[in-house]
């Protein structure tokens, strides 16, 4: 066997141009498949990563995907808010373990401002039950403290104790410039939408909107705003949504029904995992198309390899005849061809692994920065290894045909 491997290896080296081209085409197709699969899983993981925390999302009655998008991904805007009273009443239900209020509406530069409570930092989790961690500083202690996500800090080059001004609305030029906020905490990267958030307390949002009515600023009578604001009642009147965690998952449907049937106000509760799966099903058509294309690329690369093995058979008749004469059996000739196919596929796989690993170091941070797709560096999993084995086995299986051809010819080919 050692001799056959040696002969096969040297014979491949002798035909290095065609062999290298075959290896390149197979390597590219494996890299393409692995990259698409890693991207697909990464995007999915990063998308689903946002919904690890709550059992239910409470919001005003609208489309369930819309509620999911604006509450968890801060994409789009709510059509209506929920009242503070309803929120308080629901939060008092004995089945509720904890509740995180979410109040959206304002922005800072291109980033959305979210009003919430300390619960957000303590209870919110993403992906495998990972908690939010501070890169520096801590959560807000006083009204005009602000915590920013890692992307906000990175892109706007902010550090602790920097002052920031919040703009009214999402794309408005009106600034809440009478209330500068101070950055008190910067969160660690999570790969979720939290990275792009400016987090303030609900009281702060209430405070900066004291002089505002129906979206416009009123002339203010308050002189020293920051000091005097403390004398006002800063209890919020409305919220955008709330993430609810129940003590037991058994009560999810009960509470969901109760919220949906809530008499005082038109509310709805959605189960984030279910809605997200519905949403992903729409996206998955593209995902399946991409996977099918890359699978076809692999199939064509393997067929290319077989075509080359076939076309070489005639050129190598003398070589095969010689090997037969000096004692190689037809079985040896078959094995030789199979070893060659194995070596081509094996090296393609090795090169693909190296390329994917190197590109993960180079491109993952770029994807994260440019497109917000956070991919973990740990890309090798059982699924990938299974796939690589599949490539190896299928290329060996299809190589059986040219090998049988070589075997047959070698029975009669001699002097």
């Amino acid at each position: 066997m050692k001799i056959l491997i040696n002969i096969a290896f040297q014979s491949l080296l002798n035909r290095k141009v065609t062999v290298i081209l075959t290896i390149i085409s197979l390597t590219i197709s494996i890299v393409l498949f692995l990259s698409i699969d890693t991207l697909r899983l990464g995007a999915k993981k990063s998308f689903f990563g946002n919904v690890k925390s709550g059992d239910l999302i409470l919001g005003a009655r609208s489309g369930e995907i819309q509620l999911l998008l604006y509450s968890l991904f801060q994409i789009g805007s709510p059509t209506n808010n929920i009242s503070w009273e309803s929120y308080k009443e629901i939060s008092k239900k004995p089945e509720v373990d904890w509740i995180i209020p979410i109040s959206l509406g304002d922005s800072h530069k291109q980033f959305r401002v979210m009003g919430t409570t300390q619960n957000y930092f303590e209870k919110f989790s993403y992906r495998k039950d990972q908690k939010l961690l501070f890169k520096s500083g801590t959560y807000f202690r006083s009204t005009f403290d602000v915590v920013i996500g890692s992307d906000v800090a990175k892109i706007l080059n902010y550090k602790l104790e920097d002052d920031i001004i919040i703009a009214h609305g999402i794309a408005s030029q009106s600034l809440h410039d009478e209330f500068p906020f101070k950055i008190k905490g910067i969160l660690k990267k999570t790969g979720t939408s939290t990275d792009k958030l400016v987090l303030v307390s609900l009281e702060a949002l209430e405070a900066i909107h004291k002089d505002w009515k129906t979206g416009s600023k009123l002339p203010s009578k308050i002189k020293n705003k920051e000091k005097e604001i403390k004398n006002f009642d800063l209890t919020p009147k409305e919220l955008t949504a709330a993430v609810i965690k129940l003590k037991s998952p058994i009560s999810i449907f009960k509470i969901q029904r109760e919220i949906n049937d809530y008499q005082e106000e038109s509310l709805q509760a959605i189960i984030p995992g279910i809605v997200l799966t519905k949403l992903w099903q729409i996206v998955s058509i593209t995902e399946n198309i991409m996977l099918s294309i890359s699978s076809m690329v692999i199939v064509s690369a393997i067929l290319g390899m077989i075509a080359i093995l076939y076309s070489n058979l005639n050129n190598r008749r003398k070589e095969m005849a010689l090997l037969r004469i000096v004692g190689a059996s037809p079985k040896n000739i078959f094995t030789l061809m199979m070893v060659e196919a194995f070596l081509i596929s094996f090296f393609s796989i090795i090169f693909a692994i190296v390329i994917v690993q190197i590109s993960s170091f180079i491109f993952f941070p770029i994807l994260d920065r440019q497109f917000g797709i956070f991919l973990e560096q740990k890309i090798w999993n059982a699924r990938n290894l299974y796939f690589l084995n599949l490539v190896l086995i299928s290329s060996l299986l299809v190589s059986i045909f040219p090998s049988i051809q070589a075997f047959r010819k070698s029975i009669n080919d001699g002097i």
């Binding site: 001799i3 002969i7 040297q10 014979s11 080296l13 002798n14 003398k318 070589e319 005849a321 010689l322 090997l323 037969r324 004469i325 000096v326 004692g327 190689a328 059996s329 037809p330 040896n332 029975i411 009669n412 080919d413 001699g414 002097i415």
Partner: protein, 231 residues
Amino acid sequence: MYNALEINDLFFKWENKESFKLKITKLEIENKKKIVIFGKSGSGKSTLLNLISGILSPLKGSLNINNIDITKLSQKKKDEFRANNIGVIFQQFNILDYISPLQNILLPCFFTKFKKYDKLYFYDRAFNLAQKIDINKNILLQNNSKNLSVGQKQRIAILRAIINKPFLILADEATSALDDKNKKDFINLLMNLCDEEKVTLLMVSHDTSLKKNFDDFINLEKILIRNENIN
């Protein structure tokens, strides 16, 4: 003196080619003799050599080499028998140019002798034989055999045929591609090595001028019956 090769009533035809049939009623070659068989192109010379080497199997008859009827052997045994007992020199020498000259010489050992015997013995033998015919170590140890001259190629081909201490050497039109000088050198070298190694030599050729170098010659037409003449 016994016969190194003995063929009796051998009948062969290709499985899918009804038009090609051949029969050899009798052929005997004495041990250690150097015999040349003359025949025109397409007269069945290569088929005969493939039958003797066990690559092709006859439908009927016996083919004894060193008193072993190889028609009775399984394909696997035939391959082993060929590797151990028969050395072959090809018309174009068939040197594998992607391996070294030394590996080319030792190729027959890879499939047989190395399994049973000391590798070093065959490496030594290759170096010693090469030295005798003016092939130095540097040439033997070249990375590949791409730059060998015709003269070097023919010598490597002879050494490859002889390395396994075969009982019989088959040479197929081994001089047809050579000029007069190279032909003369090749024949001299082959004869000397066959004498030294005490090997029987059977060469097929269309070049009747080789007659003088051999112990005897046979006209293929006289021993081989083709197609329509077979009863």
